[in-house]
């Protein structure tokens, strides 16, 4: 079947099997930052944003994104505050889970840039980091939140 959607701000159309999962379609499209890991939607390493909301690429059929907008970290500009915050905070070791973390944090801060540390920890419950970089990931959330709030206060 043919599925058309917007991937990182550009329209794409793919020919896929009806049972193909989104993670596989995105990897076929070169989005290797989207990583099959647990296959059951608990680890968050294949997280993408679908119309701005985090979704597990291993649980979603490609067909389900017909007409919708899908964002991966590849679609973020290099000056993105969350990317900068993760880099500045050294919020990774092996880096496997980081793209999923970044996207979850993007959505979290878009929803509420004043999120508290314990709320952020709870919101990251679906993103596992076996290296255990959680403290610095939460530091990165703080840094990104500051950046976003100071930007929006300047704009006002």
């Amino acid at each position: 079947m043919r599925v058309g959607f917007v991937l990182d701000d550009a329209p794409v159309e793919v020919e896929v099997a009806a049972d193909q999962m989104l993670v596989d379609a995105l990897r076929d499209l070169g989005r290797l930052s989207v990583r099959q890991t647990c296959g059951i939607g608990v680890c968050g390493a294949c997280t993408v944003l679908v119309d701005g909301e985090p979704a597990s690429g291993c649980l979603m059929l490609t067909a389900q994104v017909e007409g919708r907008s899908v964002t991966t970290v590849d679609g973020l500009p290099s000056e993105d505050p969350v990317l900068a915050a993760f880099t500045e905070a050294h919020a990774f070791q092996c880096g496997w889970c980081t793209p999923g973390m970044v996207l979850t944090v993007k959505a979290m801060l878009a929803d509420d840039a004043t999120v508290q540390r314990d709320e952020a920890a709870a919101a990251l419950g679906g993103n596992l980091c076996r290296c255990g970089c959680y403290s610095r990931i939460l530091d990165a959330v703080d840094l990104a939140a500051q950046q976003i709030t100071s930007r929006s206060s300047k704009e006002q």
Partner: protein, 701 residues
Amino acid sequence: MTPDPRATGAQRYSVDADMPGQLHAALVRSTVAHGVVRSIDTSAVPPGTAVLVAQDVADLPLYGCQIADQRVLAGDRVRFAGDVVAAVAAPTAAEARAAAQAVLVDIDELPGVFDALEATREDAPLLHESLSVSDNEAAYFGIRPVRGTNICHRFRIRHGDVDAGFAGAAVVVEGTFRTPSAAHAPMEPHATVGRFTDDGRLEIVTGTQTPFNLRMELAALFGMDEEDVRVVVPPMGGSFGAKTFTRIEAIVAALARKTGRPIKLVLDRTEEFVTLNRHPSIVQVRLGATAQGDLVAKAVTCWADTGAYADCGPGVAQKMGFAAPGPYRLPHCSVDAYAVYTNTPPNGAYRGYGAMQSIWASERTMDMLAAKLGMSPLDLRRRNLLRDGDIYPTGETMHDTCFAELLERAATAVDYEADPTGKGLSLIMKGMQTPSRAAIAVEREGEDGYVVRCATTEIGQGSRRTLQLLAAEQLGCRPEQIRVPDPDTDRVPFDTRTTSSRSTAMMGRALVVACAALLEDGRRGYGEISEPGGLDPDTGQGIASSHWHQAAAAAEVSVDEETGVVRLARVHCPVYAGRVVNAPGADLQNEGAMFMGLGTALFEAIDFSQGQVTNANLSDYNIPTAEDVGACTHELVEREGAPIHGLGETALPPVPPAIGNALASLGIELYDLPMTSERVLAAIDRRAAGPVDAALEARES
């Protein structure tokens, strides 16, 4: 600031590696824990799918990094539920998985054995009829298989006269402690792509901490010169010991040989739980002291369940054994450690490498002894801890010790002396692989750059950055001028492996030598470092570790006595670093090890039913999340002029006993990991039934 490639998702792993014209592989596994394979029916496999069965690999010898006990495919005998009996290759991964499911395997089940102690009984089913020591470099110490039993290695320490020591003890405590199997659960699964080239070389791209051990093993398997096998190692998405020695690489190579095509194999999450796990252990400890609290004798017996194939189980059992005395002066000590086969998935290197298991037992025993002496656990440790110049039961003289400072830092963090209720301490030492050698080369590159060629693999521990920083310091340039490419056995000097927290300590020192040589030569420099040592397996005498990894931990807990839930108010882990090179990397490694220790302490265990893993996924097997770790803090202790100490694993082993001892201060005595709510509730019931000794006797009868 340019965003890091790990943040942008630009970092590439073995999973992302492809070779032109590759086929995708999938594995067919035994569904029973022990059995004889009657037939393999491949008639339902779609045409165009390659199938690899035992006959295809019958010409390949037995392999194994320390004991040669494994075949590339299991053959007519399967020894664990998950043993690979056949492999298929097809144009896509989905077709390969479907084809693997179409292979029908008929197995007659044999009786199995699933517990290390039961496996040592005379009537236990025997897993391997004959055992021969491997000629891989990983078999670097005297391995002592016990013929005609399931014991593939036994190791002993004999120091002083233990019977005489106990005869002179005023107080003796003893206990039996168990730790379960656990999953490394690296986020990236095992992934390998490989091919035979037109000129007959074997090329493998894989996630492995042991590129040269792998090269050695593949060359021996396929009857090739080591120089004709090339292993390239991209960064790994975590490993923690899981990606060591030969895992799926030999099957990939055998499929490539059969098909004449490149082969790619990526395991799924369920398969990760039957590929390599942590050694379950049973550790018996007997510890005696004078009435004043001076330790006089310790006797320890450890059984390390190495699963169906030895892998590096002999090494793990040995390390479990020589970590068992602990960081205390012991005039008399004996240790007996055994690596034992059972019908469970192979167990191998796991962050801590056996030390965690005997440390759990030993540090819990210290608090039991303190209770019986009516002494503070802090004072008991202070009184007995090792200082420079003390002799360890292996006969080696302790140097660069930091135990006193680590202990005080841990105690202070929880204000232990003011009120020890609900609080626990632990103090630990862990060895680095000894003997050990490392080699590295540095070359000028372009106008003002340098390239570092070395086999140290990047697992997330930050070795690449550490080498950049060290080289820049030596060469007087910026770290960005140093390039550290992926390890490639065709291009880097031979090195043993990236394990045992040895890379910064060993490779770092070799790099300093190489940089000095380059400055002399102008173009290139080579550096090599070796640390002699090793232990006599029959007496445990020698040098166990060229330097010791040292740490303490403190925990403060409260317990919901209705539900058994343990709440952590505080966990603090001071670790001795000697000197820190890469500050964020060291900090992250230390914290990550501590968090992994938290999982080990409270909830991580692979569950089995008759040898079958029953929680082979990340929903039933839980690992720590961002919400679990808020109470944990840590610190790296440095000293002016001190050498670099490895620190990739050290913070894991002290966490479980610190929490266990905190519970013990509330009368909740636990002997088995993890400390689940169920076990806590059972211990609360035991407390209600009577004093500690009575509970122990009840348990042992």
